[in-house]
């Protein structure tokens, strides 16, 4: 496989959209575009799963599996048997940079 980025976890339910426009505002890759009645999902493949849209959608019309996407953290978490990689102060931290 030479495109691990072919699909992602972004889900959008237009039935819940109240057309507030925030998803189009916060997305750094223009995944959503404003429209007359509801937002349009125009570039789903460009989604980097940052979660900005999900967090700012007041009705929960958008869900995405956002979280730590750092390869080193995910590898460490997998090897150390932790469920979820975490950024933050030791001992929870999954990387060498504690902060």
């Amino acid at each position: 496989m030479f495109n691990a980025y072919m699909s992602n976890t972004l889900q959008y339910d237009p039935a819940l959209c109240i057309n507030c426009g925030l998803c189009s505002i916060v997305c750094p890759h223009a995944v959503f575009a404003p429209d007359d009645r509801v937002a349009r999902l125009v570039r789903p493949d460009a989604c980097m799963e940052c979660g900005a849209c999900q967090l700012n959608c007041p009705t929960g019309a958008i869900t995405v599996d956002s979280g730590v996407g750092c390869a080193a953290a995910m590898i460490y978490a997998a090897l150390a048997g932790k469920k979820e990689p975490v950024c933050g102060p030791e001992p929870e931290s999954s990387c060498g940079y504690s902060s």
Binding site: Y5, I25, P28, L55, N56, A71, A72, M74
Partner: protein, 336 residues
Amino acid sequence: MMSDTNANPKQPHIQPATSSITLANRWDHFLARWGVNRSGHRIEPGLYALGHPTADSPVFVTANYTLSFDALRSALAGIDGYIMVLDTLGINVWCAAGKGTFGTDELVRRIEAAALDKVVNHRVLILPQLGAPGVAAHEVKRRSGFKVEYGPVRAADLPEYLKTGRATPEMRRVHFTLRDRLVLIPVELVAVLLPMAIAAVALFLLLGPLAAAGAVAAILAGVVLFPILLPWLPTHDFSSKGFILGGAVALPFALSTFWRNPDATWWLRAGGALTYLLPLPPVTAFLALNFTGSTTFTSRSGVRREIFTYVPAMAWMFGIGIVLTIVLVLARVWGG
């Protein structure tokens, strides 16, 4: 040096700020970019007064990382306003937002601590767009009464944003230009310098100069060449791009070994070449995979898929390459 810009003794202290970047600031930025004292580039969180703000002046929000604070205030030359600095532990806005430290809770906390509703008449906060992964605008409104307006991605676009009252679609887009990639190289390079030096010395002593040079080349290819060449390397995955680059960099070493001993048997010569072609490309590929965390566009799902697809291959190739090296060294030692 610290003068209160308000007279009310009950009001929390507001620190002054200017929009000028000094030599000391630039030195601090340089050190930060080179990974010196990585999480130490921070300022005290809280409310700052930029210029001479009044109760009607805008309120901007940023992280307590010096590069973030300095990018914001230097973009606001000639503008009077308040800057609310959140405690992100010295991490930039976008990363802190992803981690949650540039978040709803911290923002609401700082608004209350500064008694912001007494400082300004309006109820608007201008946040950097890339704070959005950590901030729920509607939650902030509900809990503090302040409305979050997401300004442009780049602070440099703020004057235009303030003039027109809106951000253009291009102001809301993030790219990953060559310059963006170049500024990330020094800190990655500094992080590998010690392991690379140790590997080079060890390999030089055990196997000679070519092996040491090969290892250094593979590491530098992953840390310096890969970020530069990223968009031009074939395939979508960073690991496969890294394998291709690593293979290209290892090839001269493999060919040099192959041609160096024309008298040896063919399979010994091929084996020698493989001691470069097997372990070196995985090193470059692994470093390339780790660069996903520094980009502006790779998704978590994609990186996870990459890890499960390529890391076993990296481990196998590297392991077999090491074993092969040991076998050939022993063969040479015993063969005389």
